[in-house]
């Protein structure tokens, strides 16, 4: 293993026991992967909440994360290496309300103590799964780590930054040490397209791209790098964030090249590194329609939980939602929540969009979604979601009907408290 002078100093304990063990683990991880050296990490988004159900060790951030990921109870001086910028990912609690998630104040305060401690130790609290919407943007060639699957695809594919999935544990270690194994999608030779995607379905709306990602993911094998060349309407970043969220749900894809958008896919030859594709994948409208049918409960019925905002809404989306909900009113007894992040909520408040949505009876949540906001849908008789990622996972978790539709269909359902079959 090729180590830098600083790696060696960490390893021999010059910077304390936390970094010594973290470097030992990082080197073990490199060996497991088959990497031969480490590289610097420029940017990180990582979870720092109480991780209940996963890490059932320790009582506070220091004890839980040190026992869980370093194997020994220790106190941290910092969670973020000097040259790395880190903000936190989505978490278990809303930004301000425990009632909206049906949580107790004690639970809320307990989780918040983890987040506050992380801030004290150098993490910027953002609670966002779409960090690129508010300035966390690793540029081409920069190395990033993240605990958000759709963010992996966005950064690798659209920004040309370089990162691998890993997971919570190794993202935590990389943020702590500022080092990660040089491996996988860090290397140019692994960033070539493998499969040409032939698109014969609609690509106009956010739902079109959400379903395209869902169906494409179902066709991929581990390690495949799909390449979109033509046959689609050029997407913007809002459509792509939905596309990548669903693609990361049904596949292990970490890189998806889009000719004309991805900096490493200026043309088809560029995308495939001059090689022939290993295969072709055809996506038809019939496949997309079938996925939509599978995601949505087949019978009409009452709905009392409606959620939009996976991945977290941009201010542009909040403006569109406010335009649609103006002069409308959510039916009494229906919980209609919209997910975004702190800075975007503030912008929506400044521009009046938040007030329109609140006057209509919506609640704008921060820091999470139904997948991570523990308890938010408790007691619901039926749930409506406009994200195939959320619908996919909630169909496994819920015992009540889960409906999947467009944002507009969801808002209509929130207003009348009923899901109507639309196709």
């Amino acid at each position: 293993m090729k180590l830098s002078q600083r790696d060696k100093q960490m390893l021999q304990g010059d910077f304390g026991e936390v970094l010594q063990i973290a470097m030992q683990k990082t080197i073990e991880y490199a060996k497991v992967l088959g990497a031969e050296e480490l590289i610097d990490v420029d940017k990180s988004t990582s979870c720092y909440d109480e991780m209940s159900g996963f890490l059932d060790v320790g009582k506070d951030l220091d004890s839980k994360y040190s026992l869980g990921y370093l194997g020994k109870e220790l106190q941290f001086d910092s969670l973020v290496a000097e040259e790395c910028f880190c903000q936190d990912d989505a978490c278990t609690i809303d930004g301000e309300s425990w009632e909206i998630c049906n949580q107790s104040k004690e639970f809320y305060d307990y989780v918040k103590s983890f987040l506050d401690r992380a801030v004290d130790l150098g993490v910027v609290r953002m609670g966002s799964c779409t960090p690129y919407l508010t300035g966390w943007v690793p540029l081409q060639g920069e190395v990033f780590v993240t605990t958000e699957s759709s963010n992996i695809l966005m950064c690798n594919s659209v920004f040309g930054a370089r990162g691998n999935c890993g997971g919570q544990a190794t993202t935590f270690l990389a943020t702590l040490t500022g080092r990660t194994p040089l491996w996988g999608y860090h290397l140019y030779e692994n960033r070539a397209g493998t499969h040409l995607v032939k698109i014969q379905c609609r690509t106009e709306t956010r739902q079109d791209w959400d379903l395209l990602g869902y169906v494409l993911g179902e066709q991929l094998e581990p390690g495949d790098v799909p390449v979109l060349v033509d046959g689609f309407k050029k997407p913007d970043i809002i459509l792509l964030k939905s596309f990548f969220a669903s693609l990361a749900t049904t596949s292990s894809a970490e890189l998806c090249l889009i000719v004309g958008i991805s900096p490493e896919a200026r043309d088809m030859d560029d995308a495939f590194h001059g090689q022939k594709p290993k295969g072709e994948i055809l996506i038809t409208q019939e496949m997309v329609d079938d996925a939509k049918r599978r995601l949505c409960h087949p019978e009409e019925g009452s709905v009392d939980f409606v959620q939009i905002g996976c991945p977290h809404c941009s201010v542009q989306e909040l403006k569109d939602l406010a335009d649609y909900m103006k002069d409308k009113r959510v039916k009494e007894g229906v919980k209609f929540t919209i997910n975004t992040s702190f800075p975007i909520l503030k912008t929506a408040e400044v521009n009046g969009y938040a007030q329109i949505l609140r006057d209509a009876g919506a609640y704008i949540t921060t820091c999470g979604c139904i997948n991570v906001h523990e308890g938010i849908s408790d007691g619901a008789c039926a749930i409506a979601l406009s994200s195939s990622k959320l619908a996919h996972y909630q169909k496994s978790e819920q015992t009540v009907p889960v409906y999947y539709g467009t944002d507009e269909e969801l808002m209509d359902a929130a207003v009348c408290g009923y899901w109507r079959e639309t196709t």
Partner: protein, 144 residues
């Protein structure tokens, strides 16, 4: 790269030794892998992914044979969670290593052999129910 070969006469597959240690157990072969998030119950190790061919079977103490991870980045959290709850596999055999599997394996510390050649697919050559020995020091998987 490691030199990789397969000796079929003695039913030994040779891959890359990724995590040291030796483990024996009954193989659970999942050619389409298992999702992490909502794919496996961390308290029991039971596969709960809807429609999965082995839904209802447990990964606990098995030699888990998969091509790699599948689904979101939470894969490593769920599989490491299984280990923390005493319900993880005894060893992993992976067609190809990926970073989500790598994270679960480095945290759990159980033996792993991976990165077989394209000519030799452990998901095809090992059958669920086979009793196998995984040698994470030598990089071998022996069907006993």
């Amino acid at each position: 790269m490691n030199q990789i070969a397969t000796n079929k006469s003695t039913s030994i597959l040779i891959g890359r030794p990724a995590m040291a240690g030796i483990a024996e157990g009954i193989a659970l072969v999942c050619p389409n892998s298992i999702m992490g998030w909502n794919g496996v119950d961390m308290d029991t190790g039971v596969i709960v992914e809807k429609g999965h061919p082995q839904e209802g079977m447990s990964i606990k103490d098995k030699v888990l044979v998969i091509p790699g991870s599948r689904g979101s980045i939470g894969w490593s959290d769920y599989f490491y969670g299984c280990h923390l709850h005493g319900c993880g596999p005894a060893a992993y055999v992976l067609t190809s290593m990926d970073s989500k599997c790598g994270t679960a394996i480095v945290m759990s510390g159980v033996p792993c052999v991976c990165d077989f050649t394209e000519a030799h697919d452990p998901c095809a050559e090992i059958k669920t129910g086979d009793f196998v020995r995984v040698d994470g020091n030598a990089g071998t998987v022996e069907i006993l």
